[in-house]
Symmetry: C2
Subunit: 229 residues, 2 copies
DNA sequence: TCAAAAGTGTTCTTATTACACCCATGG
DNA sequence: CCATGGGTGTAATAAGAACACTTTTGA
């Protein structure tokens, strides 16, 4: 074994692709960097991992500092470690994505200071570091994940219409879905509670509101049920 | 920003779950550790990543040093970074898995020195560090991957029988498949070349030998074909 | 009364499952 | 001639895709 000290000269960060859904569009929360390197460029929120901190904790910390949110859906995607990816030294980053309800998100002091803002996925600008690659990988993962697990609901307010749900899936899957087939399938899973309420103040026939039944899902899942869109 | 120097005190490694298929069984290549920590325990092959080395290169290096093999299927799975996972300091590891043809694998000097040997997946012993978790995650990823991409062939010799192929899928998916349905499906994809050869010296009707047609797959894939088992 | 989105069933096509017997070879 | 695994087709069922009109509301 070579001298171990030679290896203990690296750092690692977490970067978090925070997805939200608003106005029928899938969005990602970016910050404008206030310091070198890549000063003034848009970047994914991220930070160094502390010595005694687990990776998942670090990702949660980054998320909470920026959005004030805790206990939201968070998943590690993979590590990015090109040796030249960071100009300051050897820094690998662990990429996470999280899903938040944009209605819960309040711009707080930290996020104002760091100029955070939402960007539609298809029009994301050039980002600092290798963050465009990271975003692409996380979006791809989300796309796959959303077909096999009911995580789409994490992006919607507690009460939503079937059309909103359909538009959400269309944004994530980047495809169009048939209204009748979508409703048939999603309702046949029995995971939605019909709240017997309707929208108010819309200039068309008001839609019914639904709620995702998490307990029912856990119960069905334990029995081997498979959410498959 | 805090003093950056505080963060540049970490190390990272790659660990590689090397899968092989032999005697109808899915196997993983483990090494017996020759030094502390976890001396004499079985572990995944892995090593520190050098300062100027990309992660994928490091994983390939670990693989080549142990098996002599290059240009084999290799995929990053995720990072493991519990802060207490390594007794020597803060070391996160990036987990990879690779698929090799066990017939190509020759025990070389390095692997003898490190006491490498193949273990059937269902009977893997307790491993050093968090390597059992890593193995589980990589096996899970392989299970998912193999359904959507024709990577199973990476584990078989160039000429194989349909029964061997079926047993491979059964080992990976941990399930039993219907012989007729499996054959119908796999042959209907037109990805196998019937070599018009048969097994020799077997005490039963000899089976036909097939070959995977990689060019045809690339071609179909480019046109939007979807391998789906 | 118009515009805008909500809501609703049936048919056709395709994929999946279940299932049992004869064949070729070596010992 | 026996044991062993190789090889083959059809019918029933389930899942997915395609498709058009009526309803309710606010402006």
């Amino acid at each position: 074994m070579e001298n171990l000290d030679n290896f203990f000269k690296c750092a690692f960060t977490v970067d978090n692709v925070i997805f939200g859904f608003d106005e029928g569009d899938l969005k990602v929360l970016l910050i404008k960097r206030g310091e070198a390197p890549y000063e003034d460029m848009w970047a994914l929120p991220g930070y160094f991992v502390y010595q005694t901190e687990d990776l998942d904790s670090a990702a949660n910390r980054v998320l909470a500092e920026l959005t004030g949110l805790r206990n939201v859906y968070l998943e590690q995607v993979k590590a990015f470690g090109r040796s030249d990816r960071h100009p300051v030294g050897r820094v690998i980053t662990i990429a996470y994505y999280s899903l938040i309800k944009i209605s819960d998100y309040k711009i707080n002091a930290a996020s104002i200071a760091r100029k955070a803002s939402w960007h539609s996925i298809p029009t994301v600008p050039e980002l600092a570091f290798d963050h465009n690659d990271i975003l692409t990988a996380c979006f791809k993962r989300l796309k796959r994940r959303v077909r096999g697990r009911p995580i789409g609901f994490e992006l919607l307010p507690p009460k939503f219409t079937l059309t909103e749900l359909q538009h959400l899936y269309e944004s994530i899957l980047e495809t169009e879905l048939d209204k009748r087939n979508f409703r048939k399938k999603i309702l046949s899973m029995n995971l939605l509670v019909d709240l017997e309420e309707t929208q108010e103040g819309v200039a068309h026939r008001p839609a019914r509101l639904y709620q995702f039944d998490r307990d029912k899902y856990e119960h069905l899942f334990a029995k081997g049920f498979n959410f498959e869109l």
